[in-house]
Symmetry: D2
């Protein structure tokens, strides 16, 4: 099969985007590469609903197994994953929390950010430009809001470095994750600023947003939504459902999530936020790359005076939506219905509760010493 | 729909894992929640091949649109995504690189890590335990290698903090990503160490691994594989294919990826590694949560004396495999065939080349000022 | 001399604070340890002006060699150091900058911060407490301002984590560095908050300040003062004074200060801010521990179209004062007069200019390849 | 006094280094600036012993008040500081620890590092160069060791990024801090590597050392020496000497040093390492800029089953020496004698014990709520 790929494309000057349909592309690939793409061709969404909107060079669909955990706080948690034990683990955590009377979840809107970088003539001109922007916030806000009735500019942070002026626009984008609309809106603001200040935009996204990268700016100030969740678990339920004790859970949280993460220079002081976020995001049509940001955050535990377990998670940077992006796809729509969420705040609450459950269960498993056992069971099946 | 979820489960004491099949679960959910799960029920993998191995409480599959970018370096790049413009952008980058004579990609095995934390009696006992481990490396290696013929223990790093001894086992796991097998192997090593040293294991995974979190330990020492990719692009091709100049690309790399990321306290000094990794990982059955680690890394650019563009990416922490996990699923197998990779090193090379292409294209788009335009075109379709 | 120390104190139950004077303490130490403290006893400040104010258990003074660099921007730079070549290097940088027409320096007040942490009853109570604080900012400000006429409360940031509410009070403390007065002022605010909200203060300083530690919170939001400095150096002066070229300087800035620091996970993207800050701070009676914060920041360089060098530094976190602390000591007062600064803003400007000069000179030295040569010359003398 | 500085130097073309002595420089400054430098002129070290070795443009000495804390573990702790309460606080901590039976301190040599960066022709050439260096370690070691009989090359780490090859040389420099000698030694190695590999050195210090900046590379792998210290404090002594309880101390450690530092993105998970290090370093002739690295590290606390307090500190990055640098100065020599240390390992042990004491005492003060009270007492005196 050596040089088939190069041969097929480079030498015959064919380009995948010239084919009229996913089927035509599949057939070309099947023939040229001598492979079968039967499973990829098996999908239910309408080709025209995604082509040129969610994807290009469409050839079909990937199928990721979908399981359901929960219920927790009136939500079920759809998880698309290939990591054995994840759904079972989240489910166990949900059970422990619900039998303990449920969780408390709080969500705070920080905003979807876009961060252009401008070139000024020097530090003085940088300050002048910064001042102009601060004084003309209303004008800039109006300009951005003309591009869509679904967004509202909340504030603009700015930092000067050398000839560069970094801005960070924060928007309320309603139920949408909104990167698309804030890009268009910020582009309009950029044009206005260029016109009025003689600063020149180097890049519409200058990493002061900062999008899809783990960053302390987002950890400290938040991005998208901040989410907190907490539950109190009686020691009896910890023992019966989680097979361990509050003390052991608190020990693992401290030694692993706190001290272990410090020793590793980690921005994630948790056990596996990323697992749960990636699986919910895949199931519900979110942008999967935002899992990189969702891995930030802190898990804590405390033994109460009566010996019960107080357990919490904090997510500083949850980027998601219930409209837009991949949420309109039919399987993803069904997953959102399973989740029983009507808007992005409910979605965030469900995610917060699911992460609380998932952290609790994995940490209990580590405390009990059963992690390898679970993997071994799976391991045998893998052979 | 208010309390349907709680009602259905809590009050009737039903648990999803009691149902015999995905269909039975779907039917229950459809009836109780009064929803339709037609699309989720539409999948081609054999239920018994995933249930209890890759997932629990299976109800069907999520379908994520799959596109193909490339070719690049004899690989096509399958991308499962709902983010419009991603496939087109990576394809454009591939075209520019291939017309420039291709890329050079290097891969270095660091190893899959697992990092247990032990409780010792104090700092002195910590040193004794650490010394015992160093002196008995061969014995420990043999113990771990008894659990599987597919892994080899490469080395063990250790750090003492208070009464805690943090270890970091590095394994060569062949073509598998291998978290499952290194968990089982390390569990055996842990039992040996507990027996011989009187240190007690607090958690088999103590975040000194550090798995699925962005961390400087992985950035600095690497995890999984380290990947470097570079290409030289004549200014003519930069102009014709990427619609900009080498100078503008180098400016965006410096002001956005370097200075912008510094100002944000980011571990990702790049533009969108996470996008490409998440989409390839989703298409090929990798663990999606590893996208959090894959977002680490650095993009660089340099103007050569003749005015051409030298462009590189560096990935310190790429966790992936071509066997195990979700790679055996039928659609994922087809994607691996499209990708034309026979082992994990080829897979890493293809990922490195794809990220090089994706970085080049997005940064060119930012340099040219066309990002918002592209989103606007998509934006209209989204309405 | 083995157990002399323990013998002298533990067995005779003597405590240094019981002695009436520095001389008495010295005599005791000289006798018991059989050593001579002649040089430490040689000082000019009045014992009563420091005892119980700047120090306890006073036995005399350390003498640190003091040199002078500059002039730059109408300032001389006093540097107390034992690192050979530092004064000469800063001087050379000053000369290059002054011959190039001087520097532009900007200073922005961020404020001296103090960050108490409170224990609340849970996340909900955390939000209630946070809301009470936001609504009662004026009352809190008045309370703090009663403790001193020299401070003004600027704002309060807050973050909730688990049952903990972290606050960050920002104060304008005039010409004083002010940690002392903001501690007293914040203590009064803490008492008010405890009384009104039922939250309990765990620690008056909860590391959300964050004082004397390198932290991204201070890097991103600033602390004390933010300082920017820039200069344009004609290539002729770079060649004649700095013995290298703008291109080589820009190369070292990129490869060392930017890429090298990224590869090291550093918060300092510079070459030696800490050297210059520590030496000026020692000379002028600042708190030396604040050098840890002063080491944060970024150096940049750019080749202008005409081939000249544009060179800048950015200090996000400069904690210093011209009154209070050790600034009243006689030698330190003389150093402040040499520096020719009348208030803290002028002091910050001088520090900014000195760091610009010091960075320029060391980086030129690295670019030229003369660093080892300079050390070798010193090395011989050290023998 | 407006333009006096510029006038005196720029217009009369005088340079401070032209004067023959510190006295001549002082007299010039006194006359031209119309100030008195009596106190700076008051010093005991021999001018010729520092000029051109430890400093240039010498005009005299800064006097920093010197106090003594301890004893602890057969050491007294000399502290040069102007921060009231610091000596008293460290002393209180020493007392509590000594009455509890003392501390256990461990020191591990990591090595003094120097990190040159080379420019290669590309990634492939980077690997060739890296391989040549690995294969020729003995030759390189011999080359470096020819420059001084006091150093030994321990190992070389390397990282490739784009065309840049970053090296990190680790040396054992005996009782010297050794930056001077490792610079000279590495320069010889660099010349050898340039000759044999055709890679070109961009900078002898490429921030992969990484010197005098807070960096995760040093946090994770260590630099200079790693130091651990621990003590067990009976609750009775905690109550009587520290006026608080083990529980309150453990609470402050967790909420401030751990969670507070996480929320701030700090590399220092402690309360005030920098204070103690800066004061000991100033007293004993160390390089003050290394306080920036010394501020890294972690404080921990644990309540033992019997209710006693187990308390520890960990310093990953302590750069210091007992010969070389400013240690030969007479007042600094006397301070080393007070400290009762005969070599660098004993010095590190004393520093570790002092930091343990200082952390314990400040944290107890925060737990008790007496920090502001102490400052208020000082505050009154400051008026």
């Amino acid at each position: 099969m050596e040089n088939l790929v190069e041969w097929a494309f480079m030498k015959s000057k064919v380009s995948l985007r010239e084919f009229p349909s996913a089927q035509a592309r599949r057939e070309f690939l099947e023939k040229e590469l001598n492979i079968n793409l039967h499973n990829i061709g098996h999908f239910t969404f309408a080709e025209e609903s995604v082509a040129g909107r969610n994807i290009e060079n469409l050839i079909g669909a990937t199928q990721i197994p979908l399981g359901v955990a929960g219920p927790i706080m009136n939500h079920l948690i759809p998880l698309a994953t290939t990591e054995g034990a994840l759904v079972a683990s989240v489910s166990r955590g949900c059970k422990a929390i619900m039998e303990s009377g449920g969780a408390c979840v709080e969500v705070e809107l920080v905003g979807t950010t876009r961060g252009p970088v401008f070139k000024t003539q020097g530090i003085e001109h940088g300050f002048k430009t910064k001042n102009w922007i601060e004084k003309n916030f209303s004008l800039i806000a109006q300009t951005t809001q003309k591009t869509s009735s679904h967004l509202k500019l909340l504030k603009i942070d700015s930092q000067i470095l050398s000839k560069n002026l970094y801005l960070r626009f924060y928007y309320d984008t309603g139920d949408a994750m909104g990167m698309n609309m804030v890009t268009i809106a910020t582009d309009m603001a950029v044009k206005l600023i260029e016109q009025k200040t003689k600063a020149r935009c180097i890049a519409l996204a200058g990493n002061f947003d900062i999008d899809k990268k783990p960053a302390y700016l987002n950890f400290i100030l938040g991005r998208g939504k901040k989410v907190w969740a907490e539950a109190v678990l009686p020691k009896k339920i910890v023992r019966e459902v989680l097979k361990t004790t509050p003390e052991k859970i608190a020990e693992v949280v401290e030694k692993k999530c706190h001290l272990g993460s410090m020793m590793s220079g980690s921005m994630g002081f948790n056990s596996h936020f990323a697992n749960i976020i990636a699986a919910i995001f895949a199931a519900t049509g979110q942008d999967l790359a935002h899992a990189a940001e969702g891995s930030l955050g802190i898990t804590t535990a405390e033994i109460l005076k009566n010996g019960d377990l107080y357990f919490t998670i904090y997510l500083p940077d949850l980027m998601c939506g219930t409209v837009g992006g991949g949420t309109h796809l039919p399987a993803q729509q069904e997953a959102l219905k399973i989740m029983n969420v009507r808007n992005v705040l409910e979605y965030c609450r469900a995610v917060g509760a699911a992460i609380l459950a998932g952290e609790l269960s994995l940490i209990a498993s580590l405390a009990e010493g059963s992690l390898a056992k679970a993997h071994q069971k799976l391991g045998r099946k893998n052979k």
